[in-house]
């Protein structure tokens, strides 16, 4: 069984990463863990959230979007802990990276380039890369002794690991080099060094997209050229930190087929990359309070009451109960696919709350449930 408290209490653990498919409760889990670390374990904690639900963001005081952590009020600080929270601003983080790597004049040029604007807000992978970048920044500041990281709502949980490398590869890639070569050599045509078919391509691209686009693109590439090394180096550095023992990965999944499949992929990948997987949080599970009354018996009793034409409400309660029992059985079967393949990964189950989790008290409830997982058969 996953012992969340011993992870949060362990001073050697400096980073907790919550990952998993979209919508399973990563942000909620990250915030609940960070709150618990601050209140129960006296840690100076910062939580980096990516896309909190609006009301949760308000509860955490994330109304000022200045891309730096803010102290969360109404946290019990009796044990000497603190909670800071921030929400990732992807574009702003990218701007900061540019500013850190180049002089203000050149930075301004980059900011004004339409390709930079498109890429810093839409490139698949930018958000993942910037989450990593922000994590690196927070760690470098050495202000907190625990950083809890939420991960972007990727189409797949693996994107978080792969996207930074993909972006670095892209910025560093052959195509950019090809485009860049003439700019470096000071040649007039951007494509004068390349093969015949590339010539066809460039002519096609020129015709289709127009010359302005090509000059914007070459400007963008030239401006970014000086930063290639820096990009790659930082992504690699953060990647190494993630492999270190100071980091604990928590996989978050709901007991649904897609989420469990994603979790299994991700666990396999972490194993392969020798990254430290601390456990699986199985979020939003449904459990009956009365396992001794089976679904079949409950439904039969409801049908009998219907037949007799009385006690309508009791019949409906019995149907609700039967639905819950069935759902629990289904969820156990689905989650079993993960535990069968990864028996060594400890699991904590968090019950589905009847309403959404959007205040500090709600986070406390989730944190307590995480620390005191339901018993598992």
């Amino acid at each position: 069984m996953l012992d969340v408290d011993s992870i949060l209490a362990d001073r050697d653990v400096r980073i907790v990463v919550c990952c998993g498919a979209g919508g399973v409760g990563k942000t909620t889990t990250a915030a609940a863990l960070a709150l618990r670390a601050a209140e129960q374990h006296g840690r100076r904690t910062v939580v980096l959230t990516i896309d909190p639900a609006r009301r949760l963001a308000q509860a955490l005081g994330l109304t000022e979007l200045d891309n730096t952590p803010r102290l969360v009020k109404s946290v019990d600080a009796a044990g000497g802990g603190e909670l800071h929270a921030m929400m990732l601003d992807m574009k702003r983080t990218f701007d900061e990276v540019v500013l850190a790597h180049t002089d203000p004049v050149k930075a301004e040029e980059i900011f004004n380039n339409p390709f930079y604007q498109a890429m810093s807000s839409t490139f698949a992978g930018t958000q993942e890369y910037m989450a990593m970048e922000k994590l690196g920044q927070l760690r470098a500041r050495d202000t907190w002794d625990l950083i809890v990281v939420d991960t972007p709502p990727s189409r797949s949980a693996l994107d978080f690991l792969d996207a930074p490398a993909r972006l670095a590869r892209f910025l560093d890639g052959r195509m950019l080099r090809l485009l860049l070569a003439p700019a470096r050599a000071g040649g007039r045509s951007m494509f004068n060094l390349v093969t015949a078919s590339f010539g066809v391509f460039s002519r096609a691209v020129q015709k289709v997209l127009g010359a302005q686009l090509l000059s914007d693109l070459s400007g963008f590439v030239a401006a970014l050229d000086s930063m290639f090394g820096g990009f790659r180096e930082r992504a690699e550095q953060t990647y190494r930190v993630l492999q270190d023992r100071e980091t604990a990965f928590l996989l978050v999944a709901a007991p649904e087929p897609d989420a469990i499949r994603e979790a299994a992929y991700f666990a396999g990948r972490l194993r392969q990359d020798r990254m430290p997987l601390a456990g699986l949080v199985l979020n939003r599970v449904h459990r009956t309070q009365l396992p001794q009354l089976s679904a079949a018996r409950s439904l039969a009793a409801a049908a009998a009451l219907d037949q007799a034409g009385e006690h309508d409400s009791t019949a409906e309660v019995l149907r609700i109960h039967a639905g819950l029992v069935d759902q629990g059985v289904r969820e156990k079967r689905v989650a079993g696919r993960f535990t069968r393949d990864f028996p060594e990964v400890p699991v904590a189950e968090v019950p589905a709350q009847p309403a959404d989790v959007h205040d500090i008290d709600g986070l406390r409830t989730i944190g307590a449930a995480l620390a005191r997982p339901l018993s598992r058969p």
Binding site: L176, A196, D216, Q289, L290, A301, V317, D326
Partner: protein, 331 residues
């Protein structure tokens, strides 16, 4: 090429629209995981009912349609994947942005073998990555082409259903002119994107937003509809997926009531059973209340709403037919 109009007995119907689903292109969006692919497939089945032919398209390279119908990955080629009720046919297509770019360039510039070399070089991937707006024009351009395609003056498809990107990206995806105008100021791509933009803003298109009765999907639905409306894009229906039937409409049940009911049903009436069942009922009612207030928020949008039931056994083929029938019955 085979005669595209053969083999589908209800051809006479293809030029008529369904009065309750009047568009030709149905774009299905929603927060990730709410059931976009499921609902898009059900809608394609629904509109093919009665001997018509529809096309179900995906553009995100996820092979969601193949997974849903448990068939091998779809190529960049339209092919039959399912029969609809009363002799209709659903075809499917997974649009690949690279293929679409090559097809497009070929059309204008006769690239031939050079295209394959370019692909090897990674040029195509590069071009569609560096300019996401370009990729989106190619994808929506292909969808427009399929929707408007005719043979001998007859439409190939009664309707095309697009399993579209999620709410967070849908407006940018469909707002093609704005996106490409930023990058391509002249040239055929600009002309192409203007044609696509006009089509997407015409009554030929309807954008349906799928949601669950949960806070975040509903919030995203409201945000997306606001953004789509501001961009002048035509909004169709709000589709509430996986809705549960209302139970305990009285709103409460006392322990005494429950004890009498359980006794009448011959079940145990011990404290644990009564308290346990009452707690379960309370949680259900709390959830139901949250769902009611989310329904009210959706109502305020003033758009037609369709509710699709939660399928207790998950999405099977029979389940898809149930959803399709519910969609067809919507007014």
């Amino acid at each position: 090429m085979e005669d595209e109009t053969d083999g589908c007995e209800g051809e006479r119907d293809v030029n008529q629209v369904n009065p309750f689903w009047p568009a030709r292109l149905h774009v299905v969006t929603g927060k990730g995981g709410v059931g976009k692919t499921t609902v898009a497939a059900a809608l394609a089945l629904a509109l093919a009912t009665g001997g018509r032919r529809t096309l179900l398209v995906e553009v995100e390279g996820r092979q969601g349609i193949a997974q849903l119908f448990e068939i091998p990955p779809l190529p960049y080629q339209e092919r039959p994947i399912a029969a609809a009720a009363d002799g209709g046919e659903v075809r499917a297509l997974a649009v690949d942005p690279e293929e679409a770019l090559l097809e497009y360039l070929d059309l204008f510039y006769r690239l031939g073998r050079a295209g394959r070399v370019l692909r090897k070089l990674g040029a195509i991937d590069f071009a569609t990555t560096i300019a996401p707006g370009l990729r989106d024009v190619l994808l929506t351009g292909k969808v427009k082409e399929a929707t408007t395609r005719t043979v001998d003056g007859r439409r190939i498809y009664q309707a095309v259903v697009l399993d579209a990107p999620p709410t967070g990206r849908i407006t940018r995806f469909l707002n093609v002119t704005a996106e490409t105008a930023r990058l391509a100021k002249v040239g055929p791509i600009k002309t192409q994107s203007e044609g696509v933009a006009a089509f997407l803003r015409s009554p030929m298109t309807a954008i349906h937003v799928v949601t669950l009765l949960e806070e975040m999907p509903v919030q995203e639905t409201i945000d997306a509809i606001g953004d789509l409306a501001a961009a002048g894009l035509p909004i169709g229906r709000v589709i509430v997926n996986a809705a549960r039937p209302p139970l305990l409409t009285a709103g409460r049940i006392t322990q005494a009531e429950l004890r009498r009911g359980l006794a009448a049903a011959g079940l145990t009436t011990d404290r644990e059973a009564v308290a346990g069942l009452q707690a379960e009922a309370k949680a259900y009612l709390t959830r139901q209340k949250v769902e009611q207030s989310l329904r009210a928020e959706l109502d305020e949008l003033g758009r037609p709403i369709v509710e699709l039931p939660l399928l207790p056994d998950g999405v099977t083929r029979a389940g898809l037919d149930t959803l399709a029938a519910t969609l067809l019955a919507a007014e």
